[in-house]
Amino acid sequence: MTPKIRAQGLSFYYGAVRALHDISVEILPNLVTAFIGPSGCGKSTFLRTLNRMNDIIPGTRVEGRVFIDDADIYRPGVDVVALRRRVGMVFQKSNPFPKSIFDNVAYGLRVNGMAGSRSELAGRVEESLRQAALWDEVKDRLHESALALSGGQQQRLCIARALAVRPEILLMDEPASALDPIATQRIEELVYELKKAYTIVIVTHNMQQAARVSDHTAFFWLGRLVEYDRTDKIFTNPAEKLTEDYVTGRFG
């Protein structure tokens, strides 16, 4: 399988602090790849290098390369807005805009000039809400405020918003860590459904979640990629002692 994302010798600096050391990894399409590791291990930083979200943090610097479909996203002249349209992102804390449910999902389409006709826009909004498994719960109140939704619904709304611009890759940074177990389960089921159409990379502190939802798992430690393998291998028989210590909770 041709990798969707390929990082090559990627290092990342916050000022003088080197947060990522020479990361090389290939992420396959239509699979879920989980990044695990203790706080500060670099997993979120690495995730954000995949759509250049770190660019907006002053004083940071990237070395190495990240290819998406064989094109280096750090080469000069890359349209970062277009890149982020292809590589969508969902954050730990759901962040709906203080607008209606409909306008939240339509937002990306409108600012990207993808809205089309009124009926086309409505169709895309519905499709995105369906993909995010939220449609049935909100179809009768699309023009009510998104802020009235529950935490789990808000998170699925953010997923719908990310999906509306039809990205190829979905980056999820702890998407369920603030949700209750039922809402978490819905997000996990959604991830399972979405991987048929998207390449998904998920950062999670919850190892059981990584074990449940992902096909491949990468274990980060102190800014290094310690081990990257099939998820069942990582959780039943990891090759590295550090990984073993982490997944069995013998760390620190």
Binding site: Q208, A211, K233, F235, T236, T243, G249, R250
Partner: protein, 224 residues
């Protein structure tokens, strides 16, 4: 190391100790059953025949314990393999206890007839089976895959002895039909001892899986 995990490691150690205790009991019952057969000691035979309760109790206790640890701690990697192995070893040890009862029952019937012959190969089989069981459990405690491999190699010895016992007893039965009943009981006993060796082999395979994540059952070459 946080508190919950230390708790898990402590429980795991206790669980494995309990499993060893069960192994010791099962081993003792095999020894007593063969001893009872050889010495025609009715008290010893009765003790084995009706003494399965402690092993059965441990069987249930250990299963419940494993189940609880899986549910509450969701262990991973080596810890997960240890618990899965413990469940399987537990079942093997319980079967060994049952087989000791079967041997005692056959020994009781055998003792009601005059001896067919001086028993040599069957006590030898008993020693080999016990040694395999002991080594398999030692390998388990010490996480020693070399010793586990030795147990696997011993299995052929038992199979050979079982065939030998059968052939020899066949000649007795052909010569004197009155020996058929007691000789059949001896053949049954040799079969039970061979089965005990099979359970020791299973345990040794579980030890190899627990330590190295290699599945060596059914001569599979691959691992993990």
């Amino acid at each position: 190391m946080d508190k919950a995990v230390r708790h898990f490691q402590e429980e795991l150690e206790l669980l494995l100790a309990r499993l060893l205790e069960m192994g010791g009991l099962a081993e003792e019952r095999v020894r007593d059953a063969v001893q009872g057969l050889v010495t025609r000691d009715p008290a010893l035979i009765e003790k084995v025949k009706y003494g399965d309760e402690p092993v059965n109790r441990l069987h249930i206790e250990i299963d419940e314990w494993c189940f609880r640890l899986l549910a509450l701690h969701q262990p991973m990697a080596t810890d997960l393999r240890a618990i899965v192995s413990a469940v399987k070893i537990n079942t093997d040890l319980e079967r060994v206890g049952d087989l000791a009862v079967n041997i005692a029952e056959a020994a009781q019937r055998y003792a009601s007839h005059p001896p067919v012959k001086k028993l040599i190969d069957i006590p030898h089989m008993g020693n080999v089976a016990q040694a395999m069981l002991r080594d398999a459990l030692d390998a388990f405690v010490r996480r020693d895959t070399r010793l586990a491999q030795q147990v696997l190699n011993e299995d052929d010895t038992l199979d050979g002895l079982k065939t030998q016992v059968f052939r020899e007893l066949l000649t007795y039965m052909l010569q004197d039909p009155s020996t058929v009943e007691p000789a059949l009981d001896l053949i049954l006993i040799s079969r039970h001892l061979e089965r005990i060796g099979d359970h020791a082999t299973n345990i040794a395979e579980d030890v190899i899986f627990m330590v190295s994540a290699q599945d060596v059952r059914h001569h599979t070459a691959g691992g993990g």
